[in-house]
Structures are given as C-alpha cells and as structure tokens.
C-alpha cells in the first residue's frame, strides 16, 4: 500500500537546527510520522522545548546541544545518537541561515566572515554527513536531507557566502548520492522558498510583503515543509537521489520577468 511507504515507524532521525523554526517543526512532524528524534542545536533550553513537543506525539527525543560548525562536536552528536538508539536512519541538515549583515560589497568582507559564512551553511553539513555515513553504510540503509535555498541555484546581490555555501550544498548532495547509491543511501536537497516561521521577525515580514512577489501570491507555511521532508526520509523516495526539490510557490520556475509582470498578448 503506497501510503504505508511514507511512514517513518521505527526510524531514528537526527535533525540539526532543531531548537526552533523549521527544524523544530520538522522534528515534531517526523515524530508524528513515527520516527524517534535526535534534536541538535546550540541552545539547550530551545531543545528542551522541542523535546517536549516531540514527546507529546508519543515518540522519544534525545537532545544533543551542538555547534555544527565544530566538527568534534558534530562527531560527538552522531556518536550520542547511535549510542542511544543503536542505529541512525535519517539525517536532516537543517542548521544554518543567512546573515544579512554579511551581505555587503565584496571589498568589505573579511577572511573571517567568508569562512564563517561557509562554515555555517556548508562545512556544517559536510561534517554531519561525514559523521553519520559510516553507520549508514554499516546498515546499508540511510537517508540524508540537506537544506539548500533558492540562492543555491540563483545569485543574489552582495550575498557571497550564503549563495556559495548553499550552491555547495547541492553539489555536496549530488556527490554523496553518487558515492553511496550502491549502499542504499539516498541524499537529496530541499530548496525552500520563503517560510516566515509565524512572522516572528517583523522587519523580514515587511520585506516579504505577504509574498506578493511569489507566483502563488503567498508565503509558505511551516506545516507545508514537513511532508516534503517526510517524503524524502521515507521509502516512498527510495529511487530518488542526488535530486533537489523546490518548495517555493513557483519562484524558481520563473524569474525571467518579475511576478505579475506579463508580456502583452500578441494574438
């Protein structure tokens, strides 16, 4: 039965950046789909809130405070997950994010800022994949889901580090997909459009204008992202690997003219 192939019963899912926003939403949604959760992020208190929400679904949640830009901590995170549950089926590399103050003219960007931008959004994902893959190879089974961005596929003015790192995520994913295909491990990317996370950032909400510039005319809702992550974590996607899937209300399908600007009819 095809709907059964979307269930995550008995799976162990490690999610980074799970202390808030989309990461927390994904942790809870994975638990609803049947998985036990390992939640990682920097802040213990936020993780505890995530764990409380996960446990309400009846699933287990191990919290592992982790700075994902520190590879020793990332190795320890993977080890703690495997020690607790004896296996690891799904890795979601969700930690990361843009830093608006970092988007500046190139001559003002320091070496340290460049490295920090790449560490936050690319090295972190590389470290986590490297840490979990030996276990997945041992199992001859595994799913890796990396969060990229529309900026991983298109450029953004002054946005050097984020764009390069998120583009790198797509290439990292393809390389993992090819390397581990024969071990029954699939690696794919989610390319999210704009998800305002309940509108917590007022300044950003002003900038988003309710999604007027998005083809479907609205912003994404956090709850809409979960099903895609579940699909990519479940057996239903076993023949999809090295792929990226945009969930962006049509944004990346266009871009040749501004949304709402239509060439006049010629017939």
């Amino acid at each position: 039965m095809i709907l059964d192939s979307l269930k995550l019963d008995g799976k162990i899912a490690l999610i980074t950046g799970a202390g808030r926003g989309l990461g927390r939403a994904m942790a809870v949604t994975f638990a609803e789909a049947g998985a036990d959760i390992v939640a990682a992020s920097r802040t213990q208190a936020q993780l505890e809130q995530t764990a409380a929400e996960v446990k309400q679904t009846g699933r287990k949640c191990l919290i592992v405070p982790t700075d994902v830009t520190n590879s020793e901590q990332v190795n320890a995170m993977a080890a703690a997950a495997i020690k607790e549950f004896g296996r690891l089926d799904i890795l979601v590399n969700n930690a990361g994010g843009g830093d608006d103050s970092a988007a500046r003219p190139i001559e003002q960007i320091t070496d340290a800022e460049w490295r920090r931008g790449l560490d936050t959004n690319l090295s972190s994902q590389f470290y986590a994949c490297r840490a979990v893959l030996p276990q997945m190879v041992k199992q001859q089974r595994g799913k890796i889901i990396n969060l990229s961005s529309g900026y991983g596929l298109r450029g953004g003015k002054h946005n050097y580090m984020y764009v390069c790192a998120k583009g790198g995520v797509i290439q990292l994913t393809r390389t993992l997909a090819l390397t581990y295909a024969q071990h029954n491990i699939q690696a794919n990317c989610i390319v999210p459009g704009i998800f305002p996370h309940g509108g917590e950032n007022e300044q950003m909400m002003k900038f988003f204008k309710g999604g007027k510039f998005i083809p479907v005319g609205r912003l994404g809702e956090d709850a809409e992202l979960g099903p895609l992550a579940i699909f990519l974590a479940a057996d239903a996607s076993n023949h999809i690997t090295g792929e990226f899937i945009a969930i962006d209300g049509g944004g990346l399908a266009g871009g040749i003219s501004p949304t709402g600007v239509v060439p006049p009819s010629s017939h």
Binding site: E32, A181, N184, V216, G217, A223, L228, A236, T241, E243
Partner: protein
C-alpha cells in the same frame, strides 16, 4: 493542509483523478498508485485500440481499492476527444482534482534521416498531446478554482541523448511547458508539476528491448538499477496531494541519481 497527522496530507481520499495514457506501463502504474492512495479514477488512453490494456488497469485498480473504474479509449492527439474525456471525468467522478498526463511514445533514430513527418509525429505524440490535455483538464479546473496537474516526462528533458533528438526536444518541451503553465495558473488554484522518469525497467523500454544497450546502461547508473514504473508512485502521490501545496512549476526526477552524475 490537512489537519491531524501529517501523513493524512498524502491521502487522496475523496479526490477525483484522470490519468491519460493509462495503457502504458507508466500510466497504468500511476493510476494504480492514485487508487491505492484513495482517489476515484477515470482512466483514459493515449491511443485507440487499447481497450484490453485499459481493462487490465481497471482490474488492478479494483484489486487496490475495490472500486469499479470507468475506462475510456481515445486518441489523445484529437482535441475533441480530450475535451470529451475531461467532461466525462467531471460527470462520472463529480469533479476533476488531479490530472496525470502519462503521454509518451519513445522515438529513436538518426537525425539526418528524420523527415518533416517524423518531426510532426514525435512532437505531437510527446508534446502536443500534453499541451492539449493540460488545456482541456485546465478548462475544468479553472472553473472549479483548484486542481493539480502532473506531466510525466523523462530525464531526457534535461540531457541530450544521441539518436533521439526530436524525442529529447519534445520531452524538454513538456518540462518548460509545465513551468510556464504553473506560473500562469499559480494564482488560480492550479498547481502544475512534472515527474522525470529515468531509464525504465519494463518490456516496452528501449533498455529492455536491446540487451546490449541495457547492459551498458546498467553499469552507468549510480545504483545499477533501472526504474520500475511503480517506483514513480511515491513522487506522484506527493505531487498530486495536498502534501505539496506550496510546490508548483517543479519537477522531480525519479532516476536513481542519474541526473546528478557527470
């Protein structure tokens, strides 16, 4: 979004679906997947003279969900027939929420030997039929104010293959038609997405028909496996269901990683 458990969003319970090109392995498997997920179906053919194949699909659907399914043999190259099929779907099922276009007639041969009739035939079989089916299904969906269309194309849409120039062009046409239509109908409640199939493991597939080609291909594929038609089912269910409510103009390749390699 469906409330309650997140997995409910993938269910097609209460949805009315039309599959065009259901006599093929891919179209038939798509129809069965939709039925398993709970949809009510009308299955229609791409080509006339396919009654027997459609009846087999109807039987498989009944085995999957117990429903009797109407079949309609038609020629998808004729607009009036597609138009009548879309209307029949609404009359029989009570609406049209899902349209899957599994319209495909593979064509291989040297470019220099293709004449103008080859061009017209290959583009008609693989692109014009999809266009007309989108328009006719879209006509109904626009009136309804909602719908989800999935056009099944091939990974050849994004890569060149020798000896298949017109087929590649048609498949690429389907992909970009999908994007442009998605943008045009984005604010009218209709999502349009594509599914790109990898090299297929089926008796109708060129990989099966030519043993030597198939063998070479297997070595080249990242997981050394061809794609079985039913393995497209998961991505199809995701794309047609409310689980993908913020996804439009996108394509998902089910190709075992083929498109990721150099």
């Amino acid at each position: 979004m469906a409330s309650g458990n997140v997995l409910d969003g993938f269910s097609l319970e209460g949805k009315c679906a039309l599959v065009i090109g259901a006599e093929s392995a891919v179209g038939g498997a798509a129809a069965v997947a939709l039925a398993e997920a709970g949809a009510k179906l009308l299955v229609a053919s791409q080509e006339p003279g396919t009654d027997k194949a459609l009846k087999e699909v109807a039987k498989a659907i009944q085995a999957a969900n117990g429903n009797k399914t109407t079949t309609r043999t038609q020629n998808a190259a004729i607009r009036a027939e597609l138009s009548a099929t879309a209307d029949l779907a609404v009359n029989e099922l009570g609406g049209l929420h899902i349209l899957v276009n599994a319209l495909d007639v593979p064509a291989f041969g040297p470019a220099e030997e293709a004449d103008d009739t080859s061009f017209e035939r290959i583009i008609e079989n693989n692109l014009k039929t999809v266009w007309m089916a989108c328009q006719e299904g879209g006509r109904v969906m626009l009136k309804q104010g909602s719908g989800s269309i999935v056009n099944i194309t091939s990974v050849l849409a994004e890569r060149g293959v020798p000896n298949a120039v017109l087929y590649c062009a048609a498949k690429a046409g389907v992909l970009n038609l999908t994007r442009a239509l998605a943008l045009e109908w984005a604010r009218r409640g209709i999502r349009v997405n594509a599914l790109e199939a990898g090299w297929l493991d089926d008796e109708s597939s060129v990989a099966a028909k030519d043993a030597e080609f198939g063998k070479t291909l297997l070595k080249y594929l990242p997981d050394n496996k061809l794609i079985k038609p039913e393995e497209l089912g998961g991505a199809l269910i995701y794309l047609v269901s409310s689980a993908s409510s913020f996804v439009t103009g996108e394509s998902i390749a089910v190709d075992g990683g083929l498109r990721a390699r150099v």
